[in-house]
Symmetry: C2
Amino acid sequence: MTAAATPVYFWEDFAPGSVREFGGLKVDKEAVLRFASEFDPQPFHLDEEAAKQSLFGGLAASGWHTCAMVMRMMCDNYLLKAASLGSPGIEKLQWLKPVYPGDVLRVRMTVLEARPMNSKPHVGLVRSQWEALATRADGNEEVVLRMEGWGMFRRREVSEAAA
Amino acid sequence: MTAAATPVYFWEDFAPGSVREFGGLKVDKEAVLRFASEFDPQPFHLDEEAAKQSLFGGLAASGWHTCAMVMRMMCDNYLLKAASLGSPGIEKLQWLKPVYPGDVLRVRMTVLEARPMNSKPHVGLVRSQWEALATRADGNEEVVLRMEGWGMFRRREVSEAAA
């Protein structure tokens, strides 16, 4: 569960315009209720009947739970194999549609911009868009979350020059 | 753990310029490790030694865990007593400083803007800034997270007119 001792991906591997698609995480009802109980106990995340009366139309995952599930898929697909240094933040996080138990989530990541970090020459910044797509019980797929944000990665060239 | 049957707060109660301060949640190391294991198993969130070598300088909570803890404090302070209808999204989420086990977190919420929702006349939108402040082991307090985002609330006047 920890990053590889020798990273496979460095800053140079996130080229603007590149697209990665990954995931396939089934949203589990017990997990939805557990996350909501701990962090977001609003009725539409905890109670089937209250959720039916809400704008969600049915029991829906906390938006923060969806973010956390997207993060897990990012870790499993590339972050744990990358020289990742964390993230300074997110821009334009949109919860576009509810996420329901039984949905299967996947992620489409598009690199928008990459530049070296002025204050730390061995670090590069990558700005990406992540979209979470939910396959519903009826087989339709919808974009349920969209966000843009920054990641920090060690630079391969600088790492190798220093080695 | 569910919202009051009769909400105390409606859209009209979130006036631009108003400030609420609340919270006091101690960051628990086991909770940090549990969240990271499930959602963000990067070494600096799971392993003390790896974290010391990272930009964080020590074991730090996942940024998504910090968001979730802020959400819990929002629920306990006002959301569970409010005619809350969820949120369309967040702008400018910044993870400014690491959050460490033992920190005590509180939230400062400032309402920036409020307007009725064009497409749903019984709903009002509120744009707020939330800052999370961490009191460290040495007693110093720092802003560790800042975000702006939207909440949707039922309008009192419209609710009462319809009753």
